[in-house]
Symmetry: C2
Subunit: 327 residues, 2 copies
């Protein structure tokens, strides 16, 4: 798999002291200060092909950014399902507190389910992790070490965990290739932070098509990492899912079909007329501004008496903003 981005970020430099270091590092900026200091070049637009607009029955909208670099077959399935309007009329069927909201075809019997469009890949490969040897890692920014994975951080704007310390082996004009420093296969995967979106599957690993999706609404269930395909994240409107009534059945499924929350439509932004397309920008994670932001998140000021000196990859809260067209 090829991951591409424009700028090179060296791995070293960002230190993560624990409490043991009683001298707090010099603190200069709040997270808001860093966002205010970001220039136009510090943001990247979300491509319309990677943006889903999900509209619930009462008009509430949920916006999802897709991550085709990490799960290309699953993401292409989701695009096909959206283009075929297959998601229209399905429902949110499961809301489990401190875990996930899940939506899909509510029919319990296989025979009663809506047929999938013909171009959907019925058994996508297990895009749950990827080999990192020789991978072009153009913008990895480390955040922490030793929590579930040896190394975690942000790669091309996405939270990543890896089982090795990622080392920059050599740089070309515009690329960094990763060579793990220890032998053996090495893997990395997206991580299950709050708001990440994944593809539900059955007990067999290859049973998730993208017709059944979920998002995390609680403490990061990192035990799901490498076990299921993550395909994106909710970037706006998650409160329309996270505040839904919890299901009272096993695993938080709604016991009464009338409790299900209908989904009116799911559209790719690229399918909408250009004037109606919502536009979002994500803070680039390959430059100095993001490292300043992470450091500010790790060392909060003002109200805080004791800055933590560290931040969980899932507490970074990557800045994402809506772009309003100028008249």
């Amino acid at each position: 798999m090829l991951l591409s981005a424009a700028l090179i970020a060296p791995l070293a430099g960002f230190s993560m002291p624990l409490w043991a270091q009683e001298e707090a590092p010099p603190v200069r900026e709040t997270p808001s200060d860093v966002i205010a200091a970001a220039t136009a070049e510090d943001w990247r637009p979300i491509e319309p092909e990677n943006l889903l607009v999900m509209t619930l029955a009462e008009g509430a909208e949920v916006y999802i950014e897709l991550a085709p670099e990490f799960a290309p077959v699953h993401v292409e399935n989701i695009r096909r399902l959206a283009r075929a309007h297959w998601y229209d009329g399905i429902s949110v069927n499961r809301v489990q507190d401190n875990y996930v909201v899940q939506w899909g075809d509510p029919a319990e019997e296989e025979a009663e389910r809506k047929p999938l469009p013909e171009d959907v890949v019925m058994q996508p490969p297990a895009e749950y992790e990827f080999e990192t040897r020789g991978l072009e890692l153009l913008d990895f920014t480390p955040v922490q070490q030793g929590h579930y994975t040896l190394q975690s951080g942000y790669l091309n704007g996405w939270p990543l965990g890896a089982d090795q310390r990622l080392e920059v082996a050599h740089r070309g004009v515009n690329r960094v290739t990763v060579e793990p420093t220890t032998p053996g296969p090495h893997f990395a995967s997206l991580v299950h932070c709050y708001g990440m979106v994944g593809v539900g599957r059955g007990n067999n690993p290859d049973t998730g098509t993208g017709a059944e999706l979920y998002t995390v609404i609680g403490h990061a269930p990192r035990h799901l990492d490498r076990n299921i395909a993550l395909v994106g994240r909710v970037i706006e409107g998650i409160e329309n899912l996270s505040s839904l009534p919890r299901g009272t059945g096993p695993l938080g499924f709604y016991e009464d079909p009338t409790q299900r929350v209908p989904i009116d439509s799911v559209r790719l932004a690229s399918e909408l007329p250009e004037a109606e397309r919502p536009r979002f920008e994500v803070m680039r994670t390959d430059g100095d501004i993001f490292r300043r932001y992470v450091e500010a998140r790790a060392n909060r000021m003002g109200w805080f008496i004791r800055p933590a000196g560290a931040v969980d990859v899932c507490n970074v809260n990557l800045p994402i903003r809506r772009v309003v067209a100028e008249d």
Copy 2:
């Protein structure tokens, strides 16, 4: 501060391999298996003096266990406020997605607030952390290392972070005293897992009385640890708070006073007639059953292809059960 419990748990023994260890450890039990195997001695009752019953306007109930060992002055304030029925008629005023639900006196002006009972300590000490040297640590069970704190685990049933590796220095008949292996003051604190309850405060550290409380409804905001007093946790009914509509004002405060969610009453279980007292039991964290449970949470079976081999202290999900009286 003295922490007491009946059994002794040695520190060593529970290993936390990372992904790097590709051979999964032998897996024998699911978390449910362990709970089913627990005997009556593996559970401790929640004392009625440590149990709050909060009833919202439409009858929904939220049950909170207090942690007097960790924040004795704040907890005693909360008991006094509950006994005086001071909380009755206040409201939930803030619901911030992926962060906290907060309740208290909705009046914005100091002069308009309900006066506090006379026996409430207006400036409690900063019970945000405690010195561990010489502390009697009778049941610390380690869970992980190096995530925000050098060491975290469960102490007397509560999630704890510490800035040192806790070592068992010597054991008496019925006690373990901790002597940190490195010089200098050493601290530990409760940690902000999902559902933990804390005391809101202003910009000055000593401004929280217990009249304003919050609970965590998102990814553990560990940057709050050591900065504010944690006093307990929601043990049942958190969905009645976590599914409330999010506030649209700054920090998730409700902008329109009519959006606030009234609280009918908050009662200490010890104030209720004995026949009406709800009864709960918490899995003891000082014995073998809890270590088995943590290991099962770290190495999930069945649907999981790749057990994580580790578990975040905030993903342990300590078992708590309601006890129904037998006829």
